[in-house]
Amino acid sequence: MYLWFNKLGSPPHFYRIAGKWLPWLSAVFALLLITGLYGGLVYAPTDYQQGESFRIIYIHVPAAWMSLFVYVVMAFCGVVIIVWRMKLAEVVLISSAPIGASFTFLALATGSLWGKPMWGTWWVWDARLTSELILLFLYLGVIGLHSAIDDKRIASRAVAILAIVGVVNIPIIHYSVEWWNSLHQGPTVTKFDKPSIDMRMLIPLLIMALSFQIYYVIALFQSSRAELLRRERNSKWVAELSGGN
């Protein structure tokens, strides 16, 4: 296993593999997205309580799941950076940050768009939305810290430590906010996180979640390849790559 881990770790190898996989992944993503959208927008029945506005769930919930998933991936890369000092993990971590932040922002925006018709306000201090907002700050912290340090090798180790500290704090923040929300329980009970179990609603949701996962890998490969070129611009393999063709 170590050999594979090490081989994958070598930038030129990853650069080529990612390049080869991108078209296939895009095809799979397109397929999943179309079925997911069709399922969510047409196939799934209207929610008896919220009417059609519940269909925003097919963007909001997958985005929220992804915002958490990407941060956990970043923290894992952080551990790999600190322990094995793997260049690729540094690139993956910093390339994932903007994607994770975008998912978090998307979850927040769609949450607010979903809340408006139901409660007449754009922002509701709901437990999930508040945790999501704090998670966005954690992402912006990672991006801000990385861009503030000039030497990118040091910057990667700094954000590695921050991502690890962040991931330890995410559950703490989440349950604190959950507990806080139960204290100041507003008049409306939010129905965000417990989608009704009707199969015809759930299946499109899972398909959309899967398509978001594939999308993350595509966007990650794309930005990692760019970051690799920037970081390794004076290494041999980049010279061959650009001098060659």
Binding site: I82, I134, F137, L138, L140, G141, G144, L145, A148, I149, I154, R157, A158, I161, L162, I164, V165, G166, V168, N169, I172, I173, S176, V177, W179, W180, L183
Partner: protein, 227 residues
Amino acid sequence: MNRLSLTQAFIFLLRRDLTLVFRNRGELANPLLFFILVITLFPLAIGAIPELLARIAPGIIWVAALLAAMLSLDSIFRSDFDDGSLEQLLLSAHPMPVLVLAKVCAHWLVTGLPLLIMAPVLAEMLGMASEAQGILLLTILIGTPVLSLIGAIGVALTIGLRKGGIILSLLVLPLYVPVLIFAASAIENAALGLDVSAQINMLLAFLFLALSLSPWATAAALKMSMS
């Protein structure tokens, strides 16, 4: 002669930091003045309606304490970073997390403790219920060390940056949210005469978690910033 024991080194560094602070006493008052200033802004902004002020007093005091603590974080490592003694600490014969803990303790004694002394006066000014003031002190006693410990990680990460201040608040404030939530609600419950043991236990849990984990993270971040 062999090297000092760990506790001796800890106490030595703690004493050194405290003498350093008393050598330039001017800075000592800054966090305190900031704390008082921020709190006096609220009545001016919201109006001096007693019930309203008393109701939001716990929140105001804790937000002000949190901001005062954060502003003073920079002084933990700044002077040592500038004159090169931070390098010498990193290269000392003692494990770095213990030395970091000594410096964070010194910082807490210099910033956290004065807040503790000042808080009742301000609570009185805001008309906070007297039963709540006892719990207010308890939350500040337990909470401010957590602010220093977590803040030390942020400072260690941003010490090498020219304009670290803004980034520091972006890194540290989200991590302060749990402490703020449980501290403010503890005081609120106390004001209503309700039980506060749940909140206090959570604050203690945060304290022990921070005590055990953050020195290691800070030491790693310092080593990285000096690299």
